[in-house]
Amino acid sequence: MAESRIRVLVAKPGLDGHDRGAKVIARALRDAGMEVIYTGLRQTPEQIVAAAIQEDVNVVAMSLLSGAHNHLFPKVVELLKEKDAADILVIGGGVIPENDIPFLKEKGIADIFTPGTPTKKVVEYIRNNVEL
């Protein structure tokens, strides 16, 4: 049933070109029965938020390996709030030092998944935290 499927936007913010992780996550979520939209590379926070609203997603999952996460992830959360879309679950992944995680959570990123995380864990996390 189409209505009951979780919709996820997998997004690559900033200039980072490493998309192996984003693509693996996108496929794994799709294989787990979710609807997945992948933004492709080099998206600004504004573009990501516009796509999230237009596609009516439940989750925005961002991947970043360039070190710009502290700048870009919180921006997406802020813009979602501005657009009355704060109910969208925002998660992140990539090369993100543990010391940055408390800051990101404080800024409204629900959780951060670092290298080595099994895709199953991300699937479960989304299922447990999205109410359809």
């Binding site: 192996r20 496929r27 080099r42 070190g67 030092p97 290298p115």
Partner: protein, 559 residues
């Protein structure tokens, strides 16, 4: 390799061994796996014997090092003459800080520089552009203009070091800056040695720092070939890279096949632009990954040399032996490093170093243990460099040329990799070449399929990664990771703004207008870029001119 009679005897003996001794053992203890395969899915024999080498004619397939088809190496004496160049990729924050790291590495016995640029520099945005915010100085050094480049190479004599620059869509601009710094140091361009990556095709398929569409990008690349052939004869004009293709998740076979297919596209483009193949082919270089599967990696390097030699000689009719040689840089595989128990990565890197050296690399970067977590500290970079030095000076491996030659297993694997590479090249040829295959998303899809399969194997426990899905421990998070000061962005923007006030802006505008006109026509763009760079036109300004004329690449996204 053997006489017929003895081969028959051997076949019989092996069959007897298999049905007798082996079967008996298997009835008691099964083998660990139903099927043993390499990373590329090549079946692995239980036991290599001379029977595996029946197809190998020594002179045709292997020959001698320094001679066609170069299977055994590109230099006649390999590391007995000179060790590989130890070249650690580095660069972060500002030009001052990176300059300090380079001078430290040179003092530590490193023999070549390798410059990492930040993403705005790689994608042609000045540091004051909104899209650059958060990225300045993060994955490499920020270079906005010649002024930054002058600081980057301050007190580094450009006639004494060789410099590799990981720069692609903006390679022409960064090369122009390097050339002008050399001029200012009073160094003759004939003495400049180094490499620019300049490989746009793998940016579309695997690495992501493209700007322009394929056709003007290929024009810029051939412009560089031509400019260097006439002015900077020792410069490696391109580093055709499989490294990032492998990092994006390809197999070893795909890494070689897609890289050589890209190589074919560059040679064709330059020949189409009217260049004689022997005039530029000797300056083509390659860049591969050294992954974990030791023997398959060695076979991969050997097969790559052999296939490229054949392509250059037979397909393109190159006459000079230098044009047939596949010379390559290697980097150990970043994607094999684990965030868990990061000290284990030192061991992985040592094994990958061995693969690169047994495979006959010309230069090597070894990764540092904490790179799954952050940029490496000075101490970790030193361990990585020491790893190369231990293999070079203590292991004995460099003392003879191509030591694994003649191994039943490695020779057979080399043949098998070669066969599979040719199959891919034929398939890509049939699609109309690498550019077409990329535009159709074929190469991206092949890589993504392999990468997903690899991840599924790890999650199913079919592939063991020590510390990740087996032998885990509870661990404390690693402290003291290197962080780029967020103030770097502000400092860089301030420098840029001051530069724009102090230079001759009218002259800059004139040179940019000349460049625009040239870009609309067919001239070689290098002299125009050099003129603009000399007057401190910024990288972003030059790229914006080219964006106006060439447009920007819009990728197909295939999941």
């Amino acid at each position: 390799m053997s006489e017929k009679g003895t081969l028959q005897e051997l076949t019989n003996a092996k069959e007897k061994w298999t049905k007798g001794t082996v079967e008996k053992a298997l009835s008691k203890y099964k083998e660990r796996k139903e099927e043993f395969v390499t990373s590329s899915g090549i079946p692995i024999t239980r036991l290599g014997t001379p029977l595996d080498l029946q197809e190998v004619d020594y002179l045709d397939n292997l020959g001698f090092p320094g001679e066609y088809p170069f299977t055994r190496g590109v230099q006649p004496t390999m590391y007995r003459g000179r060790l590989w160049t130890m070249r650690q990729y580095a660069g972060f924050a500002t030009a001052e800080e990176s300059n300090k790291r380079y001078r430290y590495l040179l003092e530590q016995g490193q023999t070549g520089l390798s410059v990492a640029f930040d993403l705005p520099t790689q994608i042609g945005y000045d540091s004051d552009e909104p899209i650059a915010q958060g990225e300045i100085g993060k994955v490499g050094v920020a270079i906005d203009s010649l002024a930054d480049m002058e600081v980057l190479f301050h007190e580094i004599p450009l006639d004494k070091v060789s410099t590799s620059m990981t720069i692609n869509s903006t390679a022409a601009i960064l090369l122009a800056m390097y050339v002008v710094v050399a001029e200012k140091q009073g160094v003759s361009l004939e003495l400049l040695r180094g490499t620019i990556q300049n490989d746009i095709l793998k940016e579309y398929s695997a690495r992501g720092t493209y700007i322009f569409p394929p056709s003007p990008s290929m024009r810029l690349i051939t412009n560089i070939f031509e400019f260097c052939a006439g002015n900077v004869p020792q410069w490696n004009t391109i580093s055709i890279s499989g490294y990032h293709i492998r990092e994006a998740g390809s197999t070893a076979v795909q890494e070689v096949a897609f890289t050589l297919a890209d190589g074919i596209a560059y040679v064709e483009a330059a020949m189409k632009a009217g260049m004689d193949v022997d005039n530029f082919a000797g300056r083509l270089s390659f860049f591969f990954n050294a992954h974990n599967d030791l023997f398959e990696e060695v076979a991969k390097f050997r097969a790559a040399r052999k296939v490229w030699a054949k392509i250059m000689k037979e397909r393109f009719g190159a006459k000079k032996p230098r044009s047939w040689m596949l010379r390559f840089h290697t980097q150990t595989a970043g994607s094999t490093l684990t965030a868990q128990q990061p000290d284990n990565n030192v061991v992985r890197v040592a094994m990958q170093t061995l693969a690169a050296v047994l495979g006959g690399t010309q230069s090597l970067h070894t990764n540092s243990r904490e790179e799954a977590l952050a940029l490496p500290s000075e101490e970790s970079v030193r361990i990585a460099l020491r790893t190369q030095q231990i293999v070079a000076y203590e292991s004995g491996v460099p003392e003879t040329v191509d030591p694994l030659a003649g191994s039943y297993y490695v020779e057979n694997l080399t043949l098998e990799v070669e066969k599979r590479v040719w199959e891919y090249i034929k398939k890509i040829d049939a699609m109309g070449g690498a550019v077409k295959a990329i535009e159709q998303g074929y190469i991206q899809k092949e890589i993504a399929d392999s990468s997903y399969a690899y991840q599924k194997e790890i999650e199913a426990g079919q592939r063991i990664v020590v510390g990740l899905n087996k032998f885990q421990v509870e661990e404390q998070s690693l402290q003291g990771l290197l962080q780029v000061d967020p103030a770097v962005g502000e400092t860089q923007i301030k420098r840029l703004q001051e530069l724009k006030k102090s230079r001759d802006n009218l002259a800059v505008q004139n040179k940019l207008a000349d460049l625009q006109q040239a870009a609309q026509g067919n001239d070689n763009l290098m002299p125009y870029i050099l003129d603009a760079v000399r007057l401190y036109a910024t990288e972003g300004e030059i790229c914006n001119v080219l964006r106006d004329v060439f447009g920007e690449y819009r990728p197909v996204e295939i999941l």
